[in-house]
Amino acid sequence: MILILSQAHLEASTEEVMDWIERLGGRCLRLNGEDFDGDAALAWSVDGGEVRLRIGMGGGPPGAAPEPAAGAATLALPLAEVRAVWFRRWLGERRHESAELFASPPDAQGLDHRLRRHLTLESRKLADFFFARLAGRPWLSHPWRASPAKLEVLAHAARLGLAVPATLVTTERDELRRFCVAHGTVVTKPIGEVELFLHGGRRHFMYTAALDLAAVERLPERFAPSLFQERLEKSYELRVFCLDGECHAMAIFSQRDQQTRIDFRNYNRQRPNRNVPYRLRPSTASALARLLRELELETGSIDLIRTPDRREVFLEVNPVGQFGMVSKPCNFGLERKLAEHLLRLAGSGPAGAGEAAHGGR
């Protein structure tokens, strides 16, 4: 059986992979981060020399009406039957991050934050217990390997012959000015992940932002450590999903639209950017496959920029990136390929390889 670690919300791609596992004759079970956040009944014990874990999941999440008769449909996770694990996501948002935790506002400053932080750490630790319990099975993207250091990855990519942008992390305006003089306009982006803040009825997105020399001069002499890269001229942005050493690439024509020319995630919904299949140069494709192999990533979502002088410049890799946004517009069928990959990991092989087509194929 394939265990899928996911979250309870907005996982249409995960569900399609589940459909494929079923269609190809496999079995899977989905466990959501929310199960560890109150949805499931958990019991862990150290029993003699062994750790025992019991997870009691209802037939569905609570509130899924009509709820099956109590007890009858409670399903214990059969850990022994798990042959492979797919880590898709865990908890997008922990319940205690959004919940009102105090009956009335606490009098001590920062107490609320302290409580939330502790609950989050506890919840992370518990998840780690669980992930450790599944050691020894093949994982597709282990969460402990889910965030390779950006700078190391860039250097690694460059060693493999990939073009990469000049990159600087600094706290000093003088340093940034020199960088800016050498490379022209630069962009800044978070060292880790992007974030979105809601305030005053507005959303504030951390899209990649561009700074020219004038903007640099307006910065204070010292600032918090920040990441800068040379701003590359873009013909298109490339988004590549790599699985099993095979690259599935899509070109995003974000450049012709003012709204998306710095960062395509600033979607234009009226006239969406053109997203079309793209054929990477063989040297780029093989270097990317090798990079993932050497980073020990089974799968990855890779961002590149195609420059007007036809270079394919590597930006970054996200090990648990989404594949639906590449698979759907290009009709790559990645959901099926993922299911087949998982079935191979689980040692069951894609059953039904010779199955009768149901009006399909």
């Binding site: 996982e11 269609r23 999440p61 507005r202 918090a224 299949p277 793209y278 517009p329």
Partner: protein
């Protein structure tokens, strides 16, 4: 590409002219601790995200199960609009619209082609018809009619430079060719590139995991369906979309009985067609949409004329409509008109291989008979005695699925053949099972929609024969 915004300070004020700047909300300490990226956050009004419908699904253990409308009409009971949109030749209409949109449109690069070749975006697929062709924009879901001459340029002369194309036509059509490319660029259907080999075609194969993708369930005052049993079987087949057609005047309870039975299941879309009954007032319908978010639309038929109205529910996007047409039996189905054309990748890819109406469809009529479609005579047994699974296993059940538009008389010459969802129940004469749908008034040999009904009623000589 020339980059014009270098001197503008770029995004030095991330929230240009748009209220607060996030960075300004921070204290002196906050500003000191925040990386430079925080000074350039992009601000936009909240709540802009598209409508969303979420349900729960026990099968997938999903609480936020994303629900969306099926990619094409499941049945075709409603008559079309009076006018015939898209009835034009040679992209004139598109050109006119392009003119209107020009101000709002992002700048295209009218870069001199030089050594470059014109490439259509892979999602813009040209289809040739007898008299004209069409570019199906499968991403933005629109049609752009083009002359067959342009089709030829885009296909036979694909990858050639403009100079080479002009040369091929012995420079007798230079001006038209320039106009063609201007049109394609303005409509953003393609781009100049010097490496067309980097841009492969879309893979147009079609094979979703579901054994059945969509189903029709007919209900009348005398029906005695066991909804939970039927829905359980549809779930087992992986079915994601259901249209239920209630031919009689309905009470709210008739609809909730079905909707409640679908809760927690696998369907992502339920469309209802229900006979007007006085309980089906707009607030009640909106209440259903909020309570049962699998609902992607309700059409109330046989409504009094003053009820005629069409809207979408805020936040959910559920499509609601009252129509005066009387839809009291499966015989109302099979209406082909411009309003039924669907331009998207799924439909297009499916239609190239399979029958665009019947493929992977199952229907249960008001008496419980299992059919390919309620309008077809053949029954594969009654759902009370035969499981859907075994009905589908019958050799003849999938037979009709394989009749694609390339095999159908007249349709095979029609440029709209992959965006049309066909009908195999009501056929015109001539080619038996491979005849054109009876209600289609489009004539691909003249590229005109004949006036609906009028032509047929008058027994006009202007039939749809070539």
């Amino acid at each position: 590409m020339a980059d014009g915004d270098g001197g503008r300070g770029v995004d030095a004020n991330g929230s240009r002219g748009a209220g607060e700047r996030f960075f300004d909300l921070l204290s002196a300490d906050g500003q000191r601790l925040a990386p430079v990226a925080y000074r350039f956050l992009h601000s936009q009004p909240a709540g802009e995200g598209g409508p969303a419908r979420l349900a729960t699904s026990r099968h997938y253990r999903a609480r936020g199960y994303v629900c969306f409308a099926f990619h094409k009409p499941i049945s075709k009971c409603l008559a079309g609009p009076e006018a015939s949109p898209g009835d034009d030749t040679g992209g004139e209409e598109a050109e006119r619209r392009a003119g209107e949109e020009k101000a709002a449109a992002p700048a295209i690069s009218p870069r001199a082609p030089g050594a470059a070749a014109f490439a259509l975006f892979a999602c813009c697929v040209p289809v040739r018809g007898a008299r004209r062709s069409v570019i199906c924009d499968l991403q933005r879901q629109s049609l752009h009619f083009i002359p067959n001459g342009l089709y030829e340029i885009l296909t036979e002369h694909r990858g050639k430079t403009t100079a080479a194309v002009k040369e091929h036509y012995a420079h007798e059509a230079d001006e038209e060719i320039d106009e063609y490319f201007d049109f394609l660029l303005r409509e953003e259907l393609g781009f100049w590139c010097d490496d067309p080999e980097s841009f492969p075609d879309l893979d147009l194969s079609w094979d979703p995991p579901e054994r059945i993708t969509n189903a029709i369930l007919d209900v009348d005052a005398g029906s005695a369906h066991d909804y939970p049993a039927i829905l359980r079987q549809l779930d087992d087949l992986g079915c994601k979309a259901l249209e239920a057609r209630f031919f009689h005047a309905c009470r709210l309870g008739d609809l909730t009985a079905l909707l409640a039975a679908a809760e927690g299941g696998r369907l992502r879309s339920i469309e209802l067609l229900a006979g007007w009954g006085e309980e089906l007032v707009p607030p009640a319908l909106e209440g259903l949409a909020a309570a049962y978010q699998r609902l992607s639309g309700i059409v109330v038929h046989s409504a009094p004329p003053w009820r005629q109205h069409r809207w979408t529910v805020e936040r959910l996007g559920t499509a609601m409509e009252y129509v005066t047409e009387r839809i009291d039996s499966p015989r109302c189905c099979g209406k082909i008109h411009p309003g039924q054309l669907v331009v998207n990748l799924e439909t297009f890819a499916e239609a190239r291989q399979f029958n665009s109406c019947l493929n992977r469809k199952v229907a249960i009529d008001a008496r419980g008979e299992i059919r390919n479609c309620p309008s077809l005579p053949r029954s594969f047994g009654n759902v009370r005695e035969v499981s859907l699974h075994s009905a589908l296993a019958h050799r003849d059940f999938p037979a009709l699925w394989a009749i694609n538009k390339d095999q159908i008389a007249v349709c095979k010459d029609c440029e709209l053949r992959y965006v049309c969802t066909d009908c195999r129940a009501y056929l015109s004469e001539g080619a038996g099972l491979y005849s054109k749908p009876a209600t289609c008034t489009y004539d691909p040999y003249t590229a005109t929609w004949n006036p609906p009904a009028a032509a047929a009623a008058a027994g006009s000589a202007k039939g749809d024969t070539p």
